[in-house]
Amino acid sequence: MRSDINKPVWLGACAAGIAVCAALNQGVLHPLWVRNYAPKNLSVSSGLAPDQMLLALAGFREMVASILWVRADTYFDQGNYDAVLPIIRMVTWLDPKQIDVYSTGMWHIGYNFTDEQSRSDRRYLPSALALGAEGAKNNSETYEMYFETGWMWFHKINDQYDNAVTWFEKASEKSDIPPARRNMLSSAYQRAGQLDKALKLYYDQLNKAEISMKEQLDQVTAFTARQQRDTVEKNLDVFLVRMSQRGNFNADGTATELFDTQPPFDVGFSAEVSVIDAAVLRVRATWNVRPVGTRIRVILRDADYPNGTDAGMDFGASDSVNLDPPKNLTFMQDELFIRNRRADKKMDMSRDPTMYTFSKDKYYLDFYYNPRSAPPHIQDRFGFLGEGMTDKNYLNTTARNGERVIFHRMELTRDMLKREGEWIDKMPILRTPNFIEGSSTRTGEEELIKVPGLLNK
């Protein structure tokens, strides 16, 4: 006789068991697994070869990532920078914990793509920053990627310092940040004009360094602690002197009549742009400041560049890592170095047609100067926030949210830049109204920036 087990009852019980399992899986296991154990970025497409994908999916992600990164080394050596880009994306997808790849990738994208005149391709910067942000999100337990992203804002973009502050602050909150690296936050505070915070941090760092030194440590750590103490002490001293020189401790904002940042110094900016050949500009400028150290930023971009701003773009607007920016965009950034109160520079974009496609009709040429990035000897006159600087024609407080900057925009057309159409035989020349050809019209020592203690008694 056949078995007398009650089949429907058993099958029903098994179905109920599976339902309980499904509920356990969805209700308890899934959220905890995703939080604790899931590899990140499961849904990002990667461009891996099928065998690599299979290995990756089968649980060998980190191994495949390592092998790919070693291969990237070869491409670096060969100078094949384009080939490194997809590897960066693949490796960070496979192994989001490989911090090295994020930081190297950021550096590579941000610094290594240049034109014939060594100007960086700034179109990659949003992707570099997005990569940094992604790396920080995936490695939130360590300071490293926060620091790297802050550094990119501070050093590469060298503007909009609030962003550098934000990232350095996040890095500073992590327990593994070396004290020396936290010092960068003070520098960022200074550039951002948050002087109280810079000062407070210096004192905080000094206290911490003193405490470290007093602990019974091994030789190496003791040396590092002493070095940190000395560095912070020096930086603090310099900072205090500067604050004093720039009038920050006086109620009326003055220091002395010799070191005052008041009244504001008129820099007398003027400029002339000539399109001397297709995609070749001659840029001339005047600037009243005699001591060297002034660099005026020149930006040429599509008028409708995505996220374009005055004198630049919103580099942090996008969080997608696009390693292949649209080739039809144009963004050039260069600098005018002022010598003897003048600058005269040829900006040749003709040798990089892929980088400067000039495929749009309208362009902006922006001139921009931010005193927050001025060298100390100039800041001694201009102040930390540019309160000692002015220009009767081109002082601007809207381009950077209330900050005092020098800003002027010229508009060009494609035809002008390519010397086509009506401009085939005619050279486009744009000038500020105050531009005067030839020698400087300003003389007089009263307009010099006086260096205290050297020329004047």
Binding site: R2, S3, I5, K7, W10, L11, A13, C14, G17, I18, A19, V20, C21, A22, L24, N25, Q26, V28, L29, H30, L32, W33, R35, N36, Y37, A38, P39, L42, S43, L54, L57, A58, G59, F60, R61, E62, M63, A65, S66, I67, W69, V70, D95, K97, Q98, D100, E141
Partner: protein
């Protein structure tokens, strides 16, 4: 219970002597031992890559062992007619199935234990000067522990298929179920969560994930590969995952027993 235990013991004794099982085990152990010697990995992430690779190898090897071992358990007994000598004794069919299954699980457990011990030895040798201590060994051993439950569940699936399919068909069915529950788990999750997935595909993904055992839940090696992360509610997770495995195993073996009850051998 005695019958189940004794059938399990006999199954274990036979299984550990099967040449194919020993070959797979030896190959797995060999790969684990040579992994640290792969000098192509960058120094900074050597530990992470070695951890990932060795744990991945253990998982793959034990999966292959579990499938190879279990797909032949019942068919071999029928082919050799040893099953007759057992079923003509006062042994119920479900006792036979449970006994064979538990014997397979004991074998898998032994193999995993051996691989784990070799893994720990390799790590102690390779990373002793870089702070590999007992606490880290315990952390590392959590992954193979979960693999054991994962493979026990896999063996239960293979057992279920073995009572009504041939070994070759069983191999592909069980492997497919395992791949769906691990490698393609992420794909199903993406399909479920993506807004652009069609309703039919979403429903299919939900159904597949609900019915098929989710082997991916036992892949906890990420914590060992990337130490220093804060793991939330670890005890709850482990307890629930083990409970999930045990319940699913009971379901699978019960289904196998029900099907086997009326099977003519």
């Amino acid at each position: 219970m005695r019958a189940i235990f004794n059938i399990a013991r006999t199954t274990f004794g036979e299984a550990v002597r099967r040449k194919i099982i020993l070959i797979i085990l030896i190959l797995g152990l060999a790969f684990i031992i040579i992994t640290p010697g792969l000098g192509i990995l960058s120094p900074r992430s050597e530990r992470a890559a070695v951890t990932s690779l060795t744990l991945g190898l253990i998982q793959m090897t034990s999966a292959l062992l579990a499938i190879t071992l279990t797909i032949y358990l019942v068919p071999n007994e029928i082919d050799r007619r040893t099953i007759y000598t057992i079923l003509c004794k006062p042994v119920r069919r479900y006792q036979f199935i449970w006994g064979k299954y538990l014997g397979a699980v004991a074998t898998i457990g032994l193999m995993l234990l051996m691989m784990t011990l070799v893994l720990l030895a390799v790590f102690a040798f390779q990373f002793n000067d870089r702070g590999f201590n007992a606490a880290e060994a315990a952390e590392l051993a959590k992954a193979p522990l979960m693999f054991f439950f994962q493979m026990s569940l896999l063996a239960a699936v293979a057992m279920f298929f073995s009572v009504w399919t041939s070994p070759i068909v069983n191999f592909f069915l069980t492997s497919g179920t395992y791949i769906a529950g691990t490698v393609f788990n992420g794909v199903f999750e993406t399909l479920k969560e993506s807004r652009s997935t069609s309703p039919i595909l979403r429903a299919l993904s939900e159904a597949v994930q609900a019915i098929l055992p989710n082997f991916g839940r036992f892949q906890v090696q990420n914590a060992a590969v990337n130490p220093g992360q804060v793991i939330q509610s670890e005890a709850v997770y482990f307890g629930t995952a083990i409970g999930y495995a045990l319940l699913y195993i009971v379901v699978m073996i019960s289904l196998a027993s029900v099907l086997f009850e009326n099977r003519e051998v």
